[in-house]
C-alpha cells in the first residue's frame, strides 16, 4: 500500500526493461490495477518509457480493453455478435441492465460494475456469452444474468460465478483454466485432435536441416489456416532468406473474426501441438524468439498456456540447446491483446507487439523481410502451426492424403447459428457446404456465412460449393441461418462490426462502411429505390479497392455477396418512386427538431 500511480508505473516499466515495445503491457497493468489509465498514469508512462505522451493517449484510445475513464471493479462485456443476438443477447442485456440498474456503457454509482457490449468473444457455439473481467460466462439467459449479478454482489468474485455454474469439459476444468466454456469438439480428426506425444515431431524435425524441414512443409502443400491461405513453406523461405540479425516467429492467436472459435479449442486442448509447430517454425527460419499473440478475450487461458510453456522448458523442448540440438535456442512469450479485431491482420498484430496502436502497416516491405522491430518475422495461425507439427511427425504424404488439389489436409470449422450441433469440426478440405450442413444438423438452412463477416454469404443454390481455397476460402467460421432470419439485418450487423473495428486510418474504410450501412438501413426501412443497389455495389467496390488493409478490403463482402446471392431479397425491399420524390427523404422527420426548438406547431398537411 501507499504506492502512488507514478511509483507503480515506474516499478512496472522497470520490470519491462523500460522497453518501449512493451508499452501495451504496461498500459494493461495500469488498467488492471487502477481500472483505468488516468491522465497522471499517462504522464508517468510517457516519462518512464521515454515516449511522447500523445502516443500513450493514442494507445489507450485505440484498444477496447483500455479505458481513460474509471471502470467498475467488475466489467461485464456482453457479446453482440449476430449469433449472440439470434440466441437472445438482447434479453440477457435487458436483464443485466435491470439487475444492475445501469445502461450499456455505464458504471454503477458504487463503482462496482460496468456494463458494455463487445464484439464476438469466440463463444458463438455457446451463445449468448459474456466476459466478466477475464471470466467467460456462456449460454446465458435472462435468469442466469440475474443470478450472476446476485453472486457478484454477494461475493465480488467472477470466479464464484463459474463455480456456481460448473466447469466445461476437458481442460476447461484444469486448475489453471477453470472455465465454464465447453469445447464442443463434434468431429475430431486425425490431424489436429489425433494422439500427440510432445517432442516427437520436434525430434524428427531436428534430425533434418532447416531447409529440409521447409521442403517437407512445401511438399505437404500447407497453406495458412487463418483465411488468406498463403503457402507456409514459402513464407518461411522468405523469412529465412531475408537479411537480419534476429528473426521472430509469431503465433497469431488473435482469433477475432466473428463466428470463429476453433483456435480457442486448440489452445485449450492442443497447446503442446501448437507450440511444437512454433518451435519447428523457429528452427526452420532461424528464430530465437517467439510470441504468442493471445487475444484479450482468451486471457482466461493465459496461466494455463504459461504452464504448458514452463513444462516444455523443463523437458528441454524450449530454451537453450533444444532437445539436445546444440546451438538451437528458442523461447516464447505470451503477448496479450487488448480488444482490437484489426490486430488479427498480421502487420497490425506486429504494430501491437511493438507496443503501438494496432495500425496496419504499408506492404511492402512484408513482415518476412521487415517484421517485428524491423526483423524478419513469420506470422502463422494457431491451426497452421499444429499442421506443421503433424507434417513433421507423419510426413507430408500422410498430411496431404486428405483435401483438394490446391488445399491439402484438413480444416477446422467453427460452426454456429441455426444448427443442432454447433461446435468444432475437423473436415477434409473440399467438403461441400451441403455435407457440412448435414454434419451439424442444419438441413433447413437458408443462408450460410462462410469465413465470418469478411467472407461470403451463400444461399441455397450455392450449397454444392466446396470449402477450400479454390472455392469458398475460409479461416473456419461457418454461421448458419435458417429461413426466418433477415439477410439484410445480418448485413447491417456485420457493417456495425466493421464500423466499430475500423482503425480509422484510411478514408474508404472509415467513411465507406458508414455510407454502406446508411444505404442498407434505408432499404431495410422500406425507403430504398432500385438505384440504391447500384450505388451499394459501386461504393462497396471502391471501399474494397481503395482501403489500406484487409479490414476495409473485405468489409464490403457482406454487401457484395448478398447482392449476388440474395438479389431477390434486396429487390423485394426497394420500390421505384413514381413522382420523382426520394422515398428516403422524410420531411416530417426532418422537421422534428425545428418544431421542438420553436415551440410545437401543428404539422401542416403535405401539399
Amino acid at each position: 500500500m501507499g504506492e502512488s500511480v507514478g511509483d507503480f508505473v515506474r516499478r512496472v516499466s522497470h520490470e519491462l526493461g523500460r522497453n518501449r515495445s512493451r508499452l501495451l503491457e504496461l498500459a494493461r497493468a495500469v488498467q488492471e490495477r487502477y481500472r483505468y489509465v488516468s491522465p497522471e498514469a499517462m504522464d508517468a508512462m510517457a516519462r518512464s518509457m521515454g515516449v511522447p505522451r500523445v502516443e500513450v493517449e493514442g494507445l489507450v484510445s485505440f484498444y477496447a480493453f483500455l479505458s481513460d475513464r474509471p471502470q467498475g471493479r467488475i466489467v461485464i462485456r456482453l457479446s453482440d455478435n449476430v449469433i449472440d443476438e439470434m440466441k437472445g443477447a438482447a434479453r440477457v442485456g435487458a436483464a443485466f441492465q435491470e439487475a444492475l440498474g445501469i445502461g450499456f456503457g455505464q458504471t454503477t454509482a458504487d463503482g462496482l460494475f460496468t456494463l458494455e457490449w463487445t464484439p464476438c468473444i469466440g463463444m458463438s457455439d455457446q451463445a449468448p456469452a459474456a466476459l466478466i473481467n477475464h471470466v467467460v460466462a456462456t449460454q446465458l439467459s435472462s435468469d442466469s444474468a440475474r443470478r450472476i449479478v446476485e453472486i457478484l454482489r454477494q461475493d465480488g468474485s467472477p470466479e464464484k460465478v463459474v463455480r456456481a455454474f460448473g466447469f466445461g469439459d476437458g481442460n476447461n476444468g484444469h486448475d489453471l483454466v477453470r472455465a465454464m466454456v465447453h469445447n464442443n469438439i463434434r468431429q475430431p480428426g486425425r490431424v489436429i485432435f489425433g494422439h500427440m506425444a510432445p517432442g516427437e515431431a520436434l525430434s524428427k524435425a531436428l534430425a533434418m536441416s532447416p531447409v529440409e524441414v521447409i521442403r517437407d512443409v512445401k511438399t505437404a502443400r500447407l497453406r495458412g489456416r487463418g483465411g488468406a491461405g498463403f503457402p507456409t513453406g514459402m513464407k518461411w523461405d522468405f523469412t529465412r532468406a531475408a537479411e537480419g540479425q534476429r528473426r521472430y516467429v509469431i503465433c497469431n492467436a488473435d482469433e477475432g473474426e466473428p463466428g470463429t472459435f476453433k483456435d480457442r479449442v486448440i489452445l485449450t486442448e492442443r497447446p503442446d501441438l501448437m507450440i511444437e509447430g512454433m518451435t519447428i517454425a523457429a528452427y526452420a527460419v532461424g528464430a530465437e524468439m517467439g510470441i504468442i499473440y493471445l487475444r484479450a478475450e482468451y486471457a482466461y487461458l493465459r496461466a494455463f498456456l504459461e504452464h504448458v510453456l514452463e513444462g516444455r522448458r523443463r523437458q528441454g523442448l524450449l530454451g537453450r540447446d533444444i532437445a539436445g540440438k546444440k546451438g538451437f535456442h528458442f523461447d516464447i512469450r505470451i503477448q496479450l491483446g487488448a480488444g482490437a479485431y484489426v490486430c488479427g491482420e498480421e502487420t497490425a498484430l506486429i504494430s501491437s507487439c511493438e507496443g503501438d496502436r494496432g495500425d496496419p502497416k504499408d506492404r511492402p516491405p512484408f513482415p518476412t523481410d521487415k517484421g517485428l522491430l524491423s526483423h524478419p518475422t513469420t506470422v502463422n495461425n494457431v491451426e497452421t502451426l499444429c499442421c506443421v507439427a503433424r507434417i513433421l511427425e507423419h510426413g507430408p504424404g500422410w498430411f496431404s492424403e486428405e483435401g483438394s488439389s490446391q488445399s491439402a489436409g484438413p480444416k477446422l470449422l467453427s460452426i454456429s447459428g441455426d444448427c443442432a450441433r454447433p461446435g468444432v469440426y475437423e473436415v477434409p478440405f473440399g467438403i461441400t457446404l451441403a455435407e457440412v450442413l448435414r454434419l451439424c444438423g442444419a438441413e433447413d438452412a437458408a443462408a450460410v456465412q462462410v469465413g465470418g463477416p469478411s467472407g461470403q454469404m451463400v444461399g441455397r443454390e450455392g450449397f454444392g460449393r466446396r470449402i477450400c481455397y479454390e472455392d469458398l476460402s475460409t479461416g473456419g467460421a461457418v454461421m448458419v441461418f435458417d429461413g426466418s432470419r433477415d439477410v439484410l439485418w445480418i448485413v447491417n450487423k456485420f457493417l456495425d462490426f466493421f464500423i466499430e473495428e475500423s482503425c480509422g486510418y484510411c478514408t474508404p474504410c472509415r467513411v465507406g462502411n458508414v455510407l454502406m450501412r446508411e444505404r442498407v438501413q434505408r432499404i431495410r426501412a422500406g425507403r430504398g429505390e432500385p438505384s440504391d443497389l447500384d450505388y451499394l455495389r459501386r461504393l462497396a467496390q471502391t471501399v474494397k479497392t481503395a482501403s489500406r488493409c484487409g479490414l476495409g478490403q473485405t468489409s464490403p463482402n457482406p454487401v457484395l455477396t448478398t447482392l449476388d446471392n440474395f438479389r431477390g431479397v434486396y429487390q423485394s425491399r426497394v420500390q421505384q418512386p413514381t413522382d420523382g420524390r426520394r422515398p428516403a427523404f422524410d420531411l416530417e422527420a426532418a422537421l422534428v427538431e425545428a418544431r421542438a426548438a420553436t415551440g410545437a406547431r401543428p404539422a401542416v398537411t403535405p401539399g
Binding site: R582, F585, E593, A594, A597, T598, R601, G607
Partner: protein, 181 residues
C-alpha cells in the same frame, strides 16, 4: 411549334447562380427568342402555368418551403438541373450541418452578441418556414437529371448546357467550363 419552356428557382442559395444566368449578357435576347419562361424570379412569376421542359434549381433545401418548391418543380419539369454547388452538395448553407439545429437557432436568436431580441425566444411564426434538421442537396429530396457544378457555374457553362438540353443533345461541356469551386 410552341417554344420550349424553362423555369428557375433559388432555394437555399445566394442568387449567385441566377446572376450567372444574367451574365450571358446579350445572349439573353437570343434566349428570349428560344424559350418561354415559366415560374422564375427573372419574370417574377410565382406559380407554374403548366408543364415545363427544363427546370434550373439553385441552392439546396434548408427549410420546409424549399422542399415543397423543389417537389413542385419535380412535378412540372421534364428535366431538372441542379445548378451550382449548393444545389449539388449543400454548399455554404450546409456548414451548419455539423451543429445541432437548436444550437444554431439559439445562437441566432438568443445568444448572439449583436442581437436585440426582447423576448429572447426563437421566433415561431406561421409565415416563417420551418428549418430542416440539416441542409439537404436537391438529389436527396427528388430525382435530379443533370448536375452543373461551379460556384457559380460560368455563364458560358449555363448557356452551353441549356442549349444542349433544349435541343435534346447530350450535355458535353469542354473542360474549361467545368469548375468545382
Amino acid at each position: 411549334m410552341a417554344k420550349p419552356k424553362i423555369a428557375t428557382t433559388s432555394l437555399a442559395g445566394c442568387f449567385g447562380c441566377h446572376m450567372s444566368i444574367l451574365d450571358i449578357d446579350e445572349r439573353i435576347l437570343e434566349l428570349g427568342q428560344l424559350v418561354e419562361f415559366d415560374k422564375s424570379p427573372i419574370n417574377d412569376l410565382k406559380r407554374f402555368r403548366g408543364p415545363v421542359d427544363v427546370g434550373l434549381i439553385e441552392g439546396g433545401c434548408c427549410n420546409e418551403e424549399n422542399v415543397r418548391v423543389l417537389q413542385d418543380f419535380r412535378r412540372h419539369c421534364r428535366v431538372l438541373v441542379s445548378l451550382g454547388d449548393c444545389a449539388i452538395m449543400g454548399g455554404v448553407p450546409a456548414l451548419r450541418n455539423m451543429i445541432p439545429l437548436k444550437e444554431c437557432l439559439e445562437e441566432a436568436f438568443c445568444h448572439g452578441v449583436t442581437l436585440h431580441n426582447t423576448n429572447g425566444r426563437i421566433p415561431n411564426d406561421a409565415e416563417i418556414p420551418l428549418l430542416l434538421d440539416k441542409v439537404y442537396p436537391c438529389h436527396e429530396v427528388v430525382k435530379i437529371d443533370c448536375f452543373l457544378p461551379g460556384c457559380p457555374p460560368s455563364a458560358d457553362a449555363i448557356w452551353e448546357a441549356l442549349l444542349a438540353l433544349l435541343h435534346g443533345k447530350p450535355v458535353e461541356l469542354p473542360y474549361e467550363l467545368i469548375k468545382y469551386d
